[in-house]
Amino acid sequence: MTLAQIVFYLLATFTLVMAWLSVSARQLFRSAIWLLFALVGVAGIYFWMEMEFIAAVQIVVYVGGVVVLIIFSIFLTNQSGDDMPLAGMRRRIAAALAVLFGIGFTALLVAGHSFTASPEKFDNEVSRIGYAMLDTGVGGYALPFEAVSLLLLAAMVGCIVIAIKDDGRGKANKETSATPEK
């Protein structure tokens, strides 16, 4: 077993353990921290695959952006310290069975399929990605890039609209927000 293999399995194991801890931790804040490690682990996998750009994006956007956002929201909803309620036993068992079935089924499919790695060398220089992203010709990604930039803008505006504090101008909104259901 080569070192590369050992590193991969270690990284994979680390990521899976962190992911498992993230979905099973009773405290939301801890869960977020485990998620952080899982995402870092995934970034590590990307590094292992020599996909440095993706790995960098993973760390910058996920670890630096999404997880921080999640932690903010945890603090905003005042849930950091409490234990989260467990789902019912039946729900957990059903979910576990479904998940095991899913894993087994997918693994069976994957195992039954012989993936033969291409002998070609994968050239993933960042400049290649950059040119492709701005290319308007065949194999270029200028249009999706612009679409995604628009999407991000829309999401930003949307977030502000949704999350903006109601200052009493919208009467109906105030009424509904004043009477929580439970």
Binding site: A87, R91, A94, A95, A98, F101, G102, F105, L109
Partner: protein
Amino acid sequence: MNYAQFAAFILLLPLLSFVVLGIWGRRYLSKLAPWFGTASMAAVCALSLYAAFRYFFVDGSVGGVFQPIIAMQVPWLEFGYKNLSIDLGLLLDPISVMMLVVISVVSLMVHLFSMGYMKGEDRVPTYYAFLSLFSFSMLGLVLSVNLFQIYIFWELVGASSFLLIGFFFTKPSAVAASKKAFIVTRFADLFFLIGILIMGIQAGSFDFGVLLQQLTNPASEASVAMASAGFLGLSALTWALVLIFIGGAGKSAMLPLHIWLPDAMEGPTPVSALIHAATMVVAGVYLVARLFPVFQLDALAMQVVTWVGASSALFAAVIACTQTDIKRVLAYSTMSQIGYMMFSLGVGGQGETAALGYTASMFHLFTHAFFKSLLFLGAGAVIHFVHSNDMRDMGGLRRLMPLTHISFLIGCLAIAGVPPFAGFFSKEEILLAAWQSNKLVYYLALFTAALTAFYMFRLYFMIFWQADKQYHHHSEGTLSMKLPLLLLALLSISAGFVPFSQFVSADGRATATHMHWQFSIAPVVLVILGIGLAAWLYRQQNDKPAKLAASLGSFYKGAYRKFYFDELYLFVTHRILFKMIGKPAAWADKQLVDGAVNASGDATLAAAQAIKGWQSGKVQQYLLVFLLAVLLLAAVLLFFWLV
């Protein structure tokens, strides 16, 4: 002459009046409606009289024989079976033209009379619209060219009479009476329809002309089919005729089906004059007369017609002697007189004397229409004055209502058969026809004639003589109420002098009027005896009638209670039909039919209750199901489908 336009106008004018008054009457024509209806009926009357004049004196007679004229005929519905088709058309022949005159004249009188009688009532435009509808249906009935068309108008007549009888629909008794009239006649019409179908299927035609021509020829295909087919030992012809006669008996209030007629007096009195004197109730007589040559072929059917007619005549006369409601007396007398017409048709056999019964019946129909509507309108005037139907509330009216008194007296004399009033001539002819054919019927009729005189004059004396009662004094009535009385009184006097047999006879040939003065002695003497008895009993208020009633005992009581026919019907319908058939049917309907429907509903509901938890609103549950479904589908597709 173009009869098509003529006859079509006779039908279209009342229909137009009905539509106009029915739709716009109450909103725009509330004041004008009586004038509008009356004017259109006057036009119809003029057209009818002109049509009668043209038919009888100019065009109708070909070589001394009156020919039926088909003014118009269009195929309406073709069955594709034995060339069977239903045509709509207009038929003019002696009896339909005679009926046109009778209906339009009486209807015009009733329209006129109603202007005064219905003054101040609600919904007068609606009333006139219904009158127009009725006139339209009745005119259409007599002008029909085939059995099916007659059936269509027959039902229209039934429906419009339902509307008119129930005109005062806020009165429960009027509502009940209209329902009763409709249901009883409708029940009879069921047999009529079956008869029509038998006739049509066996003879291959509904058309009167074809039917008469085919069936009176024993060698024709239709006659053979009619005679060969049979059921329960009777030929198809007998069945068809008897069933058709049952329909006619229902409309004409013959014996077992007469129960609706007395109750139908709940309608406005002019309506009774129109429907229950001159038009609708004689529809049955008209129907039998229409098919008279076919009826002649079948002795049994003729016997049925004879005996139903004769028994109804006597039965109704007996009841009429005991009733105290002025309109009910008139209703029973109508039934009795229609009985006369019926058995007169029935005794009209074959051969030389055949024509006599037929002519006599039609003649009596003709004269009866005038004097009976006169009597009804007179009764209407009296009721209008007294505000009561009960003749015990009346008395001494001859000084207060002189014109009504005179005209009513004329009507009574006419119906009693006192010479020289109209009823005398027609009744003599009927009696003569009965004498020549069936002695037993003759004696029954003779006795009934005496009874008729008795109860009519009982009515007359109780209303117009006896002691004065207290009345709210007001005038006798408007001109529009007096004028019809006057005109009808004149007609009641003069109608008998019409040489009727010149115009109407079974074979269309003019025959001489048979008048045997010696023969008239017996009926006239009996009639005068009846009048005398009535005068002796009722001219002054006294206790003789009560004593007489007491001495007759249970017979009087039975007659007073109309021989318990209503009770019998109630027993049959309520105790037997409703209880034995209606209740189980209702149970089956409620429990089984509704049960099945409800069960399917309940099952759906239960299923919904059972599975509504699936739609829990819990996202994760949905997700779980979704995930499993996707996985299973994928598994099925990959391992079982695409292999």
